[in-house]
Symmetry: C2
Subunit: 128 residues, 2 copies
């Protein structure tokens, strides 16, 4: 595994702009190290970026992505804190299950829509 990535390498790999990556750094979702002024991204930063973009695709806001990334981290604090963390995890799971259901429903409608198209194509061929 490589030690560092440059910002342009990451923009190319993930199809985002440098502005976007810097925005995530401003938001403290990623914390690349510096050599002089230039940013050096470690593999862990790359993983974080991947997780952020995954969250974006699912329609989570930056604040929500921050929460999700928080729960990925090693748990610390006393019992109460950790139990609270488990509740948060279950909450997120519920949201994800809702999204899964939404996908299933949309997929079903897509199936129906495609069938209609195929039927219509058949009709057109008969009427010619």
């Amino acid at each position: 595994m490589r030690e560092f990535y440059t910002i342009t390498e990451l923009t190319k790999e993930f199809g985002v702009s440098t502005r976007t990556i810097r925005f995530y750094e401003d938001e403290e979702l990623i914390k690349p190290v510096r050599r002089g002024r230039t940013r050096l991204f470690r593999p862990s930063d790359r993983v974080l970026l991947k997780q952020i973009l995954r969250g974006k695709r699912l329609g989570f806001s930056i604040a929500e992505i921050r929460e999700i990334i928080e729960v990925y981290k090693a748990p610390s604090g006393e019992e109460g804190q950790i139990k609270l963390m488990i509740e948060r995890i279950n909450q997120k799971r519920k949201e994800l299950e809702q999204k899964r259901q939404d996908i299933d429903d949309t997929m079903r409608e897509m199936d129906g829509a495609e069938e209609n198209c195929i039927e219509r194509l058949a009709e057109l061929r008969v009427s010619q």
Copy 2:
């Protein structure tokens, strides 16, 4: 099935504001009929609203939701048009499959995070 719903009935059922519903009307995603000035929403408008909100939960923009709703409609036009429609449907399916994959990945990370929490809880109990 009821013939009409008022705007407030829909806001209560779906937990959105009247502003939101009117915004979707402005965007021509919904076209309620009128009695005088007041809007009357038919069951079909209600279904559309449900589809819009489903799209929102999945992180689709209004423009994307418009596209999705377009393909649900009865197919019209000649062969080329309909084949193009089928391609669009397949494109949307790919996006949905990506989202499904994203959900699966996130779920897996949640599982790992929860396990870490449980482990940490066990540690805390031993050390007391």
